[in-house]
Symmetry: C2
Subunit: 206 residues, 2 copies
Amino acid sequence: MKNLPHKTIERLSQYRRALLLCHAKGMTYIYSHEIAKIQHITAVQVRRDIMLIGYTGTLRKGYNVKELIDLIGQIIDSKEGINVCIVGIGNLGRAITNYFSGKRTKLSIVAVFDVDKGKVGKKYYGIECFDIADLTKVIKEKKIEIAIMTVPGEDAPMISDILVKAGIIGMLNYTPKPVNVPKEVYLEEYDMITSLEKVAFFVKTH
Amino acid sequence: MKNLPHKTIERLSQYRRALLLCHAKGMTYIYSHEIAKIQHITAVQVRRDIMLIGYTGTLRKGYNVKELIDLIGQIIDSKEGINVCIVGIGNLGRAITNYFSGKRTKLSIVAVFDVDKGKVGKKYYGIECFDIADLTKVIKEKKIEIAIMTVPGEDAPMISDILVKAGIIGMLNYTPKPVNVPKEVYLEEYDMITSLEKVAFFVKTH
DNA sequence: AGGAAAATGTTAATTATTTCACAATGTTAA
DNA sequence: TTAACATTGTGAAATAATTAACATTTTCCT
Ligand SMILES: NC(=O)c1ccc[n+]([C@@H]2O[C@H](COP(=O)([O-])OP(=O)(O)OC[C@H]3O[C@@H](n4cnc5c(N)ncnc54)[C@H](O)[C@@H]3O)[C@@H](O)[C@H]2O)c1
Ligand SMILES: NC(=O)c1ccc[n+]([C@@H]2O[C@H](COP(=O)([O-])OP(=O)(O)OC[C@H]3O[C@@H](n4cnc5c(N)ncnc54)[C@H](O)[C@@H]3O)[C@@H](O)[C@H]2O)c1
């Protein structure tokens, strides 16, 4: 069970998001091809992923929405919950903080950091903004394990080093500057320009 | 050449971003292992990608930075340039607009749209904000081919349909609501929660 | 001049991921 | 009751992506 494919993990997260919406709408069962339609993938892929996590649907009725949501939670959430921080509360940092606020109970943003004295002490979507100078202290106090970097690119490597020293074990880097972390730290980087250039490329080639 | 792997296209975009920084710093040559280090991948992977686009480096000197930048441009940029719009100029829309402004010459954001009358008519990072009611008209007038959606999730399907009808051929959906487009339209969706949950999962399993 | 070192380019092997194909089985309707 | 149908679950095949292995070439050192 530990060696679920990376792609499967990503899709499980997406399935859950879709399932939560279905659940809110009062659906109790869902077919693999319905999930597939929402995610723009094939029904076989959905069934394979669900098979991999050991869940079994009902023939001709499909999957129980609530049960599947809970099982995905057992697989991808950590039991105790994980504390997350945002570093750099500009446009992007605020978009993310707002997007997360009150969403996942197992992943909570518990602090945001900024260098701007005008922002320090204020609250953003209910989360207190701390001085970047107190990064290490606050990370330790609040037991923060994952950091999301949304500072200007030129500051990213320096901040990344501080985060690693402070004991972060996972990092999501949204700055355009790739950073280096020791191999114990799980790093994910994402760049919208890459996505857009990919769209542009495949648009060209039909 | 047309059938470059999807992953290679993504990496080429990233290589170019890194190479542009190197070029700005005055580097004229770069080794595959140096590019690899920046992107956290292997040198073989870099050489393979470069081989696929038909470029050849110099033994013991590596790749000519400028030439490689230009060649990647020839591969992934469209010759004429592509016009892009942002729909929904909230925190995320502004972050993206700012990030793109003045970056790529071949992909230009030429309009942003919003429903908020207080925003319509204003300029954001030099780009005029139009009324969402004029979406179709402006898309046609400005020959916009790609749209980036950053509206609230519940409006995404409706806006997506309008965009498709208006003639968009590529779409980047950042709302949490998956949308359906005809197969002629190239769609890319991205969700930060998925990325964060992936980080959280792999952090757990070392 | 000759050998060691360091780099590229590429075929082949390996690994990861997706898809095919179909058995099994519950459901519906005649 | 039975046949047609729709759906899940999964082994096997196919496809996609990465990595290993190494021949080749240039540079540098002695
Ligand atoms: N990955 C992507 O797709 C993507 C998209 C948009 C923006 N970005 C990047 O994300 C980052 C943030 O973008 P934005 O639009 O929010 O920019 P912004 O300027 O609005 O916000 C940056 C924030 O970081 C703060 N800051 C600056 N230096 C700091 C430091 N040393 N420590 C802590 N805080 C500091 C600033 O005070 C500001 O609040 C930029 O690097 C931008 O290039 C990435
Ligand atoms: N994919 C991700 O990772 C990610 C991350 C953060 C936010 N989001 C999503 O991105 C979207 C925007 O986030 P945000 O923080 O910028 O929100 P926001 O509320 O700051 O901005 C939304 C903007 O859209 C405008 N708008 C509303 N309805 C509209 C309509 N019908 N037509 C045109 N414009 C309209 C609003 O006036 C506002 O300016 C939300 O759906 C949010 O959930 C996604």
